[in-house]
């Protein structure tokens, strides 16, 4: 198992807009560089990308909630 970490502190989002579907769902394939979520930091949206390839397991941070830098936001399986 591997975790995707937030690169910055801010507010984490699992989807690109309130109406959209989450970027990933359980069982989805994840490639290196795939966008997993967004972090809103000082009114700027930064994409959270996976540094590993694998199968998406779950989000471990809640949508639209504060996260700190280095906090796990999602987990992957291999």
């Amino acid at each position: 198992m591997s975790q995707v970490l937030s690169p910055l502190p801010g507010t984490f989002y699992v989807k690109p807009s309130p109406e959209a579907k989450p970027y990933k769902a359980k069982g989805d394939m994840v490639a290196v560089g795939d966008v997993i979520g967004l972090v809103e930091v000082m009114k700027t949206f930064i994409e959270v990308k996976s540094e590993k390839a694998g199968t998406f397991r779950e989000y471990v941070a809640d949508d639209a909630c504060p996260v700190s830098a280095g906090q796990p936001v999602a987990s992957l399986e291999f």
């Binding site: 910055l8 502190p9 801010g10 507010t11 930091v41 000082m42 009114k43 700027t44 930064i46 639209a64 504060p66």
Partner: protein, 456 residues
């Protein structure tokens, strides 16, 4: 009755500024804060502080009901909205007034009127203020837009009638582009503002952004001269000056007179700014919009005129007449402000919400720093990246730039990445020294690699 208990519905450096001004007027200050802002400087400085909700701005600083409820619960008789957040929200101004408190700003109806670009433009034209050639009113259809664009002349800017902050603006060079872009602008305006109304105006090539500071008491208005704010990145000002050396005296007079005429025509109360595009080639200026609040860059005006605009707006909103007449307002020397943002200018201005480890601020005659930092302060990631403003006042423009360079060199903020390197580079740039720039200058200058870490 004058204001006795002022509730400050904002954060950051402007909250500090308002607390200071109110204290000097003998007013008790009550600072609103989100859960993420418990440690901010304004909370420490204010007489009282009150939580208004969780970190997310939409649940705290942008939540009308919560802010009004907290203000009432605190026993405040007035609410200062600062800038941003709810400062130009007519519904908020109305809710504050209906709850029996004074809104430190213009009447809700004035905010509403001047916040609508079409209505503001009509008010400007009626007061004799020149406007950019454009549509007379709202445009609802693409065919209508094409017809008007033909008459106005390409290139044209397509804007959302209800928009603000430069959002949703598109430029069409010909009818084909217009027919492609107008529906997109309409959809975006509808999504963002719930109003798909558009308006069109001619795009002025390489314009300068010039604005006039006014304060009104509901009957009379005075101006505090102009500011030059053309150095912008992503439509955000980064460096602001007072005055605009590119204007001749006759043009400056005309510009400031028209601003007062418009402010008086709408019975303006409080501090406000009229923004203009200035076409240096043609020596023409055009009104673009009015900001019905105190602005980030107000200190440069205070430096050259010697007046405290925040105190003045609190006094007139408390019911007093203007404390100053136009002939008492003189300008002297030249002032420059740079915005200090917690961003890494060498990494595409990536936000950097770090902890202030060590802070050394420049001091001296004609140097002012408006900020909300202290050593050990953790900048929260949830809000704007502005952490402060460095302002200098010199004999003339060249002296002010030299003073800005020296002040930047003695400014030390450890623990954060900031935009200080950008300002250092601007302060030694030949075009900046020659006052040869416009609103489209800074971004190409950055793209051309004028800011590189090796130079620093």
């Amino acid at each position: 009755m004058p204001i006795q208990r002022l509730f400050i519905a904002n954060r950051g450096e402007i909250a500090v500024r308002i607390v200071k001004a109110a204290k000097e007027l003998g007013i008790t200050t009550i600072q609103a804060h989100s859960d993420a802002d418990k440690d901010m400087l304004a909370v420490r400085m204010a007489d009282e502080a009150l939580s208004i909700g969780p970190a997310a701005a939409k649940d705290s600083y942008l939540n009308v009901d919560r802010v009004v409820e907290a203000a009432k619960a605190s026993g405040a008789d007035a609410v200062h909205p600062g800038y941003g957040f709810l400062a130009e929200n007519a519904g908020f101004a109305k809710a504050v007034t209906e709850a029996g408190m004074i809104f430190v700003g213009p009447a809700a109806s004035t905010i509403e009127r001047m916040g609508d670009k079409v209505a503001a433009r009509q008010a400007a034209e009626a007061a004799g203020v020149p406007v950019v050639p454009g549509s007379k009113g709202r445009i609802e259809t693409v065919d209508e837009a094409a017809e008007i664009a033909q008459a106005v002349g390409y290139p044209v800017m397509i804007k959302a009638s209800a928009g603000g902050g430069g959002r949703g603006i598109r430029i069409a060079s010909n009818e084909v582009e217009l027919r492609e872009l107008a529906p997109m602008a309409q959809a975006e305006a509808k999504a963002a503002f719930g109003d798909g109304g558009l308006y069109l105006e001619r795009a002025v090539a390489s314009p300068r952004h010039i604005e006039v500071q006014i304060v009104g008491d509901g009957n009379q208005a005075v101006h505090f001269y102009e500011r030059e704010c053309s150095l912008q990145r992503r439509r955000q000002k980064v460096w602001e000056e007072a005055g605009a050396d590119c204007l001749d005296e006759a043009t400056r007079d005309k510009l400031c007179q028209t601003a007062v005429a418009l402010a008086e025509a709408v019975n303006y109360r409080g501090a406000g700014t009229l923004e203009y595009l200035y076409d240096p080639g043609a020596n023409e200026f055009y009104f673009i919009e009015m900001n019905t609040r105190i602005q980030v860059e107000h200190p440069v005006t205070e430096m050259v005129t010697g007046f405290d605009l925040v105190k003045e707006m609190i006094r007139v909103c408390g019911g007093e007449p203007l404390s100053v007449s136009q002939d008492q307002i003189k300008r002297s020397g030249h002032a420059i402000e740079v915005r200090l943002n917690a961003e890494d200018p060498f990494m595409q201005f990536l936000p950097f919400p770090g902890k202030v480890e060590r802070l050394k601020l420049p001091e001296g005659d004609g140097i002012r720093v408006d900020h909300f930092m202290y050593e050990g302060y953790q900048i929260p990631p949830f809000y704007d990246s502005l952490i402060g403003k460095l302002i200098v006042h010199g004999r003339d423009r060249a002296d002010a730039i030299a003073k800005m360079s020296r002040a930047l060199n003695s400014l030390e903020i450890d623990g954060l990445k900031t935009t200080v390197p950008l300002h250092k580079a601007l302060a030694r740039d030949a075009d900046v020294a020659a006052d040869a720039f416009h609103t489209q200058w800074l971004e190409p200058w950055l793209d051309a690699g004028n800011l590189s870490s090796e130079q620093m």
